[in-house]
Amino acid sequence: MLSVHNRPPKIQAIAKQEFREGVRVNVSVLEALKPLRKSALLGIIGIVGIVVGLKINAAYSTHLKPVQPIEFSHRIHAGENQIECLYCHSSADRSPSAGVPSVAKCVGCHERIATVRDSAEIAKLNAYWQAQEPIPWIKVHDVPDFVHFTHKRHVLAGLECQQCHGPVETMDRIERVADLTMPWCTDCHTLNQTDNGLDCYTCHK
C-alpha cells in the first residue's frame, strides 16, 4: 500500500503542502513525474506486453479452441450435410452426458463415403480404427467435478444446442463460446424461472 511517506520526496512535499493549507495548489503533477517518465514508460510497455501475451495465448494456445487429434469439422457435418446433432451425440436427450460417437460409428459412415475416403484426416480415423484405439478428443466444454450438469433436462426443456454451444454448424474447429461460469448458468435459470433453478443443490453435488 502506498502511503504518503514512501512516495518520491517531491510529491510528498506537495501533498503535505496541500494537506496543510487545505487549498488546491496549482502544481503540475506531470512536471513532478518527469524524472519518473522513463520507468513509467517501461511499466506501461511491460503491461502492454502482458496483454499481448495473453492475447497470443488466447489466439494460439487456447483451451477454448484446441487443436484436436483429427481436424473434425462440424461445419461440414452439421452445416453442409445437415446431420442432426443427436445423430452423433445420441444420448443428449436421455443422459446427463451427450456422448461422443464411437470410432465404430465414424468409420461406419465413412466407409461408404467414397469422395473423402482418401483424405488425410480420414486416414487418421482409419488408423485409430485399425489400431482399435479410441480417439483422444480434447474436451472443450468442461464443467468442474462439483457440478452436476445434465444434458437431458436441458434438451428436453427445448433448449437449442446452439444456445450454449454456439453456432456449431459454422465451426471448422469446435470452439467454446459460452462462459460456463456459475453466473452464466444462473442468469439463464433466473430469466427462465427454472424450477428451483437457484437452489445450490440443483446443480452442486
Binding site: 517518465r37 522513463k38 514508460l41 517501461l42 511499466g43 510497455i45 511491460g46 503491461i47 502492454v48 506486453g49 502482458i50 496483454v51 499481448v52 501475451g53 495473453l54 492475447k55 497470443i56 495465448n57 488466447a58 494456445s61 483451451h63 484446441p66 444420448s91 436421455r94 443422459s95 446427463p96 452426458s97 456422448g99 461422443v100 460417437p101 464411437s102 470410432v103 465404430a104 485409430y128 480404427w129 482399435q132 484405439e133 479410441p134 480417439i135 483422444p136 478428443w137 480434447i138 474436451k139 468442461d142 468442474p144 444434458h151
Partner: protein
C-alpha cells in the same frame, strides 16, 4: 521529451518481451487441465455414457448366497446392492458384501502368473508357460498312474463349477478334491445327518418365530446367512401382527445377536449343550405329551434343573421359565459359533435339535423347515474337508505322498492353528500350484501362482444353502470386463486339460454353465427352442426359483433318535490352575475368518460391538480387569498350551469374568497392504483338538493365561463415552432403563 538512448531502448524491448512472456505463461497456468473426451471404439450394446446399468450376479464374500446387483457406469463397477428379486436377501446386503468392490479394485490383486524362483521371490511368466508347466507335471503323474498323489484343495465352491472340476479330475487324473472353509458349520451338518437323516441345512424360520432361543449362534452377524436372518429378525420384532418376538441368547461373550436379544445368558463356556438338555428335561417331564415321552424322560434324567444350574451358572428358575416359554410359544432353537465349536459340537447341536423336536418346531412355520430338493441333483466329486482330514493331508504331504497340490481360494495356513504344521508340510510338496486372487499366506507358499478372476468377473451358479423354503438357483455372471490378465478357475482347468491333449467340448466356464442349465431346463420340461429366452431372462433376474411346498411342512415328523443324545460337556484344553481363562475366539462380521482383512472399507468399519478399527484386541470383563490392574490399551500376553500372542486389552462390559475373547480375522503376514502386519490371529492359540464325531476343529476349547507386559498402545476406536448419562438419546423413557 526525454530522448531514448540505446540502453533504454533495450530496456523497453526487454520489458515488453518479459511482459508478453509472463502474460502467456500466466494464461497457460490458470488454464484448467485439459480433459479428454475418450469415446468407445466399439460400444457394448447396452452402453450409454452417463447412465448406469445394473447387472445381477451372486455375492461370494461368504456362503450365504445373497444375490447382488452391481451398478456399472462407463464399464466400471460403482456400487453393490442386494438384488431386490433374490429371495435370500431381498435387496439388502451386509457390510462385507458391499465391500466386494474393494476386492475387485484392490491394488494388491495378483495380475499375472508368477513362478517362485526358489529364493522366495516371484517372477512374472506367461500364461502359456504356466499352464504348460502344470500340464506337464500332471501328465507325468498321469503316466505314472499316480492320481492319488495329486490333491485339489479349494475353498467353499457351490454350484456347477464343481461339476466342471469333477470332469477335470477325470480328464487329468486327480483323485481327490477337498473343500476347506473355516466358517462351514460342519458340526451342524453332522448333527442333522444323525438326527434328521439329512446332511443339509434346513430353513430356520426366524421371520415367523415368536421365541428365538440361540445357543451361541450369532445369526445377525456371521451365522449361515446373516442378511436373510436379519430380514427375519426385523420382521420378528416389528412385523409380526400377533406378537413382538422374543430373543434369548446363550453365550459367554455378548455377540451382536446377544446385544439385540431380550435376554443374554452368560452360561459357563462349553456348557451350552447341557443347558439345552436341561431345558429339554423340564419340557419332557412337564409339558411334552408325545408318544415317546417316557423315552425322553428316561434319557434326560440326569439333566435336572438343579444339576444343570450348577453346571451352567444359569439359575433353576430361569431354566424352568425358559422351558415353559419355549414350549408354549411358537419357538425356534438354533446353535452355532463357539457354543458348537468345542469337542462336543455335534452333541450340542443334537441337544438343540432335540429341543426343537420336543417343542414341536420341526416342519412348522417359525420353526425348522426342511427344503424340498432343488432339483439340481449332481454327483459331487468333492468332500468337505474337516480339520481331521486336513491334518491327514498335512501328514501325507509331510511323508512325501503328495506330488502336486492345487489350491484355490482357501487359506488353511491362516485358519488352522500353527501347531497343525500345515505350512511345514506344504514345503515337502514338489509342486504347489495356487489359483488365487491374492497373495495370502497359503498362496505365498506356492511354486506356481495362477491369478484368478474376481467373482465379479467370472461365471458360475449357486444354489443357496440354507435355501429359503423353495427351490432357488442363482447365476453369477461377469459384470465388468477383466481388469488384469487373469482367468477363472474353470477356464484354467479347461486350458490345462486341453494342453494335456484332452478333448474338451466346452470352450469356457460360461459355455459349461450354459450347457448345464440348458440340460436342467430340458429336464424340467422346457421347450428347447425357448432356452435362449429363458437364459436371458434368468441372467437378467440373476435368480431363478420355483415356489414349491416344503417337504416337511405339515407332514408327520419322523421320531427323534433319542439314543443319539450323548455327553455334551466340552472338554477344555489346559489346566485350570495354570490357565485360568477360557479363550473365546469369535468370527467378526467385518472380516469373517480373515478373508475380509484386505478390504480397506472393512478395516475402517468400526467393530459393531467395540468400535475398534485396524487392530486386534483382547476382551476382558471389567471386574477381571480391575483385579489384574489392566486398562484399555495395556498390551497383554495371552498364552495357551500351544502358543503366545500379544494384543492390547479392551474392557468389555458383557463377558464372563473367566473368559477372554478375541476377534478372528486380523494377524495376516501376507494378504496385501491393508491386511499385513496388523493385529494377531487367535487361531494360533487354539490347541488342535477336534470333535470326535465330525472331525471339526474345536476352536473354542482352549484355556489361556494372561500377563500384563507393561507396554501400552492406543487402541483406535470411534466410541467416546458409551453411557447416555441421563441424556435422552435412546428415547424419553430410557431414563428408567439407563
Amino acid at each position: 521529451m526525454t530522448s531514448i538512448n540505446r540502453r533504454d531502448f533495450f530496456k523497453f524491448v526487454g520489458a515488453g518481451g518479459a511482459g508478453a512472456g509472463a502474460g502467456y505463461l500466466y494464461a497457460e497456468l490458470v488454464k484448467r487441465p485439459q480433459e479428454l473426451l475418450v469415446p468407445q471404439v466399439v460400444p457394448p450394446e447396452d452402453y450409454s455414457p452417463g447412465l448406469a446399468t445394473w447387472y445381477n450376479t451372486v455375492c461370494n464374500q461368504c456362503s450365504g448366497g445373497c444375490g447382488i446387483s452391481v451398478r456399472i457406469r462407463e464399464g466400471e463397477a460403482k456400487k453393490i446392492e442386494g438384488n431386490p428379486v433374490h429371495p435370500v436377501n431381498q435387496g439388502r446386503l451386509c457390510a462385507l458384501g458391499q465391500s466386494g468392490l474393494n476386492a475387485l479394485y484392490n491394488p494388491d490383486r495378483l495380475k499375472t502368473p508368477l513362478r517362485n524362483n526358489n529364493e522366495g521371490r516371484f517372477q512374472g511368466i506367461e500364461w502359456e508357460e504356466a499352464i504348460d508347466e502344470l500340464a506337464q507335471k500332471l501328465n507325468e503323474s498321469r503316466a505314472r498312474r499316480q492320481s492319488d498323489r495329486v490333491q485339489l484343495l479349494t475353498g467353499n465352491i457351490r454350484g456347477h463349477v464343481n461339476g466342471l472340476i469333477g470332469h477335470f479330475m477325470e480328464w487329468v487324473g486327480v483323485a481327490s478334491h477337498m473343500q476347506y472353509d473355516f466358517t462351514r458349520p460342519a458340526n451342524l451338518y453332522e448333527a442333522n445327518q444323525l438326527t434328521f437323516g439329512q446332511s443339509m441345512l434346513p430353513y430356520y424360520d426366524i421371520r415367523n418365530t415368536h421365541y428365538l432361543l440361540s445357543f451361541g449362534a450369532d445369526y445377525l452377524g456371521t451365522w449361515l446367512s446373516p442378511v436373510h436372518n436379519s430380514l427375519g429378525y426385523g420382521h420378528l420384532r416389528q412385523g409380526q401382527t400377533e406378537k413382538r418376538g422374543t430373543c434369548i441368547q446363550v453365550e459367554p461373550r455378548m455377540s451382536l445377536s446377544g446385544a439385540n436379544a431380550d435376554e443374554w445368558l452368560p452360561a459357563v463356556p462349553g456348557s451350552e449343550g447341557s443347558l439345552a438338555l436341561g431345558i429339554a428335561n423340564v419340557i419332557a417331564n412337564g409339558h411334552y405329551t408325545g408318544a415317546d415321552q417316557a423315552e425322553w424322560a428316561n434319557a434326560l434324567t440326569t439333566y435336572t434343573p438343579s444339576n444343570i444350574a450348577r453346571l451352567t451358572g444359569i439359575s433353576e428358575v430361569d431354566i424352568e421359565r425358559i422351558a415353559e416359554e419355549f414350549f408354549t410359544n411358537a419357538s425356534l432353537a438354533i446353535a452355532g459359533g463357539a457354543a458348537t465349536a468345542g469337542t462336543e459340537g455335534v452333541a450340542t447341536h443334537i441337544a438343540v435339535n432335540a429341543l426343537n423336536y420336543l417343542a414341536g418346531n420341526i416342519g412348522q412355520k417359525g420353526g425348522v423347515i426342511f427344503n424340498s430338493d432343488p432339483g439340481f441333483a449332481q454327483t459331487s466329486t468333492f468332500e468337505h474337508a474337516n480339520y481331521q482330514q486336513m491334518i491327514t493331508l498335512a501328514e501325507k504331504m509331510k511323508n512325501n505322498e503328495v506330488d502336486i497340490l492345487i489350491l484355490h481360494d482357501t487359506n488353511p495356513i491362516f485358519s488352522m492353528p500353527s501347531s497343525s504344521n500345515f505350512q511345514e508340510a506344504m514345503e515337502n510338496v514338489p509342486l504347489v500350484v495356487a489359483l488365487s486372487g491374492f497373495m495370502d499366506e497359503t498362496t505365498a507358499m506356492a511354486d506356481l501362482i495362477l491369478p484368478t478372476d474376481n467373482y465379479l468377473e467370472s461365471w458360475g451358479d449357486d444354489v443357496p444353502e440354507p435355501a429359503v423354503g423353495f427351490s432357488v438357483a442363482s447365476i453369477s455372471q461377469p459384470v465388468v470386463s477383466r481388469l488384469y490378465d487373469t482367468r477363472s478357475l474353470g477356464d484354467i482347468l479347461i486350458d490345462t486339460a486341453r494342453m494335456m491333449g484332452t478333448e474338451v467340448s466346452w470352450d469356457s466356464t460360461e459355455a459349461y454353465i450354459q450347457d448345464v442349465w440348458s440340460r436342467i431346463y430340458a429336464q424340467q420340461g422346457g421347450d428347447p427352442s425357448g432356452f435362449d429366452n429363458f437364459w436371458r431372462s434368468a441372467l437378467e433376474a440373476g435368480v431363478w426359483g420355483q415356489e414349491t411346498a416344503s417337504t416337511n411342512q405339515g407332514s408327520t415328523v419322523k421320531p427323534f433318535p433319542v439314543n443319539q443324545l450323548s455327553d455334551v460337556s466340552n472338554k477344555l484344553e489346559g489346566d485350570e490352575s495354570e490357565y485360568p481363562f477360557v479363550l473365546h475366539p469369535y468370527l467378526t462380521l467385518t472380516f469373517l475368518d480373515g478373508r475380509g482383512a484386505n478390504l480397506p472399507w472393512q478395516q475402517e468399519l468400526p467393530d459393531p460391538l467395540t468400535s475398534v478399527v485396524y487392530n486386534s484386541w483382547v476382551e476382558l470383563n471389567p471386574g477381571t480387569a480391575v483385579e489384574l490392574g489392566v486398562k484399555e490399551g495395556d498390551v497383554l500376553e495371552v498364552t495357551s498350551p500351544s502358543g503366545t500372542i500379544r494384543a492390547p486389552a479392551f474392557i468389555y462390559e458383557a463377558i464372563r469374568p473367566d473368559v477372554v475373547a478375541m476377534p478372528i480375522g486380523q494377524g495376516h503376514e501376507q494378504y496385501g497392504r491393508y491386511a499385513e502386519q496388523r493385529g494377531v490371529n487367535p487361531i494360533d492359540l487354539v490347541v488342535p483338538n477336534f470333535d470326535q464325531r465330525s472331525g471339526a476343529l474345536a476352536w473354542a476349547g482352549t484355556r489361556v493365561k494372561i500377563l500384563k507386559t507393561g507396554e501400552r498402545v492406543l487402541l483406535i476406536k470411534t466410541d467416546g463415552i458409551t453411557r447416555t448419562l441421563g441424556r435422552q438419546i435412546l428415547g424419553p423413557s430410557e431414563a428408567e432403563h439407563g
